[in-house]
């Protein structure tokens, strides 16, 4: 699979980039909307949670702490859910290519994942700038952030690939995923701090596959604490295991996928 993706790397990169550029084609601000809409959502959450519900983060007193916390969890999540949600539809969206050209299927999922990752990195750069302006001092640990983000996206790519193969046969999956991703987001401490959860939930949190990624990023960004051992294991497991599983499923279903498109 890796060889195939490497072979088509140029196509994937170019398409991902033009996807970002042209998704908002015709609108005045173009590319900027990619970044603007998640930040607007973050702003809303920030106002609701700090002003209306008055939530405080443990150990941090700065007024900017909560918005930064939101950003550090929400931006990766947006990119991840795009990987899964749009990835699952990528075979159907690109049916016209798949039906007529001998391009390997996974290229299209990779393309979606790549465009989500690109927009994530743009957002992260903005986030770093924002953090600097708000007075956080950069540490060497920040360099680990892109690595974790990539692992998270790898996990998203895997899920996207898995569901895109299945979605071709059972088209309800695409719709179902939209709902499931919503629920999943609220079950993960992204827009609220983990501390407001009852003890029961905090224990089960370890079984939430998205938790180690999100938690690692938040910890590093806000407290400057690197991820602990079990979290590295979990992240690597999901990031490599799920794509491998998805590839096995794809290989099994491949002969029939183009028949039903």
């Amino acid at each position: 699979m890796i060889r195939v993706l490497y072979h088509h790397r140029k196509y994937i990169l170019q398409n991902a980039w033009s996807d970002l550029r042209y998704r908002y084609a015709g609108s005045g601000m173009g590319v900027i909307w990619n970044v603007l809409s998640p930040f607007a959502q973050i702003l809303v959450f920030a106002v609701v949670f700090t002003r209306i519900m008055a939530i405080k983060l443990p150990g941090l007193t700065s007024e900017f702490a909560f918005p930064l916390y939101l950003c550090s969890g929400f931006l990766p999540w947006i990119a991840f859910s795009e990987c899964v949600g749009r990835g699952a539809n990528s075979f159907l969206e690109n049916a016209q290519y798949l039906k007529k050209m001998p391009i390997p299927e996974q290229v299209f999922v990779a393309q979606t994942a790549m465009s989500a990752t690109m927009s994530l990195f743009i957002s992260l750069v903005l986030l770093f700038l924002l953090a600097l302006i708000m007075g956080s001092w950069p540490t060497w640990l920040w360099l680990l952030l892109p690595l974790i983000a990539i692992l998270f996206q790898g996990f998203g790519f895997g899920l996207g690939l898995l569901f895109s193969s299945l979605n071709v046969f059972f088209r309800d999956i695409g719709q179902l995923l939209v709902i499931l991703l919503q629920i999943w987001m609220w079950m993960t401490p992204i827009v609220y701090p983990e501390t407001i959860l009852p003890e029961v939930f905090r224990v089960t949190m370890k079984f939430n596959p998205a938790y180690p990624f999100i938690h690692a990023i938040q910890e590093m960004f806000l407290y400057g604490r690197p991820p602990v051992g079990w979290m590295w294991c979990a992240m690597a497991g999901w990031a490599f295991g799920v794509p491998a599983l998805a590839y096995l499923v794809l290989r099994k279903l491949r002969p029939e996928i183009r028949d039903v498109l």
């Binding site: 072979h7 140029k10 398409n15 033009s18 550029r21 007529k100 001998p102 491949r254 029939e256």
Partner: protein
């Protein structure tokens, strides 16, 4: 030396038809013990081989499995059983433009799509100039595809595919695109590729094109090879199976004759006024005797390029001698949409001698041609020449205007078509009545038995 390029061995393709998509899930869960689908065999046991440089035609009605077969060979579908081997890369005109991105320019798209098809960037760079020239879409080559007309789109796509020079080319109905001039160019290019050892698979309803390009053809019916043989045999088998008459391509656009002047057609000014020659057509020649204008009318004297089958058009050619011409001659070439020369003749071939022309003298020649040809579009060229030193059949070309027209030959009759085939040849019919042998004393059965 193994020169078999394409080898298809008992290839079959089954599509599973489920009445509800979730039944497939039930089937998976039962590990195949229960069956919820109906089988549809789009291809059954197809086998054939193709040698290098060969062109195989695939004929068949809609739904016969032509596209499925070609998609399997281009590896966008997987066969259910059977195998196939292809030496070298295979490109399909099925994909004509499907990989193009609307926001990118023609040039960018060519680079992008060829990368996608696995050609390295340098390979395209070497050919981009030729592609641009062949597509002949001018500055649009560097404009986004979304601004293209559908004709330009096809030109770009076709140009790209022929210049990528695959070892095996798959063509599916794609040659019936663009205007007649581009079609002729495409056919010429296809022939050139075939002669330079490109192997070709050509699926079409266009039986004339198949007979023209292919050495062999198969007739595909309900997913099976019904017949394999020469294109002529296969085509006739196809028609006999379908019980349909050869369909005649109708005119793409009918322009009403415009001019009603019937008098003074031969006047120089009238010809200049109604001249059909202009600088956009290719023109070559030594220039001693020029065709400076030409006019085409029907037999009522109306300017038109549309003619009914078996009716005639008059071509008025205005010749002008730039130097003394001792044995002037003028003539016409007529080409069909595949670029085949259908007919060419001039004054010399008809043993019609034109007078000696002094420098500066002009002459009008009328050529009246009856279009006993298949309905469809034709192009023509007009020229002026003199006999050359090399022999009676080689002319010294003074001036030649190429790619004129198109002339549209239409058929308005709904009954029996006056002839089938490329042209109507003169044919006479006579009938002799024979006295029934029963009453003929010499060869009657009684006599025979006695002998």
């Amino acid at each position: 030396m193994n020169d078999i390029v394409v080898k298809v061995d008992s290839l079959s393709k089954r599509f599973k038809i489920y009445s509800n998509p979730w039944f497939r899930g039930l089937e998976w869960m039962s590990y195949g013990r229960r069956v919820y689908h109906r089988d549809f065999w789009a291809l059954k046991n197809i086998s054939f081989e193709l040698k290098k440089g060969e062109c195989l035609g695939i004929i068949g009605p809609n739904g016969a499995g032509k596209s499925t077969l070609l998609k399997i060979l281009t590896r966008s579908l997987y066969p259910t059983t059977g195998t196939f081997q292809i030496q070298g890369n295979i490109l399909s005109l099925l994909e004509l433009g499907t990989g193009f991105n609307w926001e990118l320019t023609g040039r960018q798209n060519i680079y992008r799509t060829s990368q996608l098809l696995g050609f390295p960037g340098g390979y395209v760079s070497e050919r981009i100039q030729e592609i641009e020239e062949f597509a002949d879409i001018g500055e649009f080559f560097d404009r986004p595809i979304k601004t293209y007309s559908s004709g330009m789109y096809v030109r770009l796509a076709f140009s790209m595919f022929v210049f990528l020079k695959p070892e095996v080319l798959v063509v599916d109905e794609a040659l019936s695109v663009g205007d007649i001039f581009f079609q002729q160019k495409c056919f010429a290019k296809m022939r050139e590729m075939l002669s330079s050892n490109t192997t070709c698979l050509f699926a079409s309803h266009d039986t004339a094109a198949i007979q023209n390009l292919c050495q062999r053809a198969i007739f595909l019916n309900h997913g099976e090879v019904d017949f394999e043989g020469t294109p002529e045999e296969t085509v006739s088998r196809y028609y006999s199976k379908l019980g349909t008459r050869r369909s005649n391509a109708g005119p793409s656009e009918i322009r009403a004759p415009t001019d009603l002047y019937a008098d003074g057609l031969m006047y120089r000014l009238k010809i200049l006024d109604h001249n059909i020659l202009n600088s956009s057509h290719p023109r070559h020649g030594e220039g001693g005797l020029e065709v400076i204008a030409a006019r085409v009318t029907d037999n009522q004297g109306r300017d038109t390029l549309i003619v009914k089958v078996l009716e005639s058009l008059d071509f008025y050619v205005l010749l002008s001698a730039k130097e003394a011409v001792y044995d002037p001659s003028t003539g016409i070439h007529l080409y069909d949409r595949m670029g085949n020369l259908v007919f060419a003749a001039g004054t010399r071939q008809l043993r019609y001698r034109l007078p000696y022309l002094k420098r500066g003298q002009e002459l009008v020649v009328k050529l009246e041609i009856t279009f006993n040809v298949q309905p469809g579009e034709y192009t023509f060229s007009l020229g002026a020449s003199e006999p050359s030193e090399e022999g009676p059949n080689i002319g010294y070309i003074h001036d030649r205007h190429e790619m004129l027209g198109p002339i549209t030959v239409i058929n308005e009759e709904t009954g029996v078509f006056p002839f089938y085939g490329v042209v109507q040849l003169p044919m006479k019919i006579m009938m002799y009545s024979i006295i029934s042998p029963l009453f003929d004393s010499r060869i009657g059965p009684d006599r025979c038995s006695h002998e």
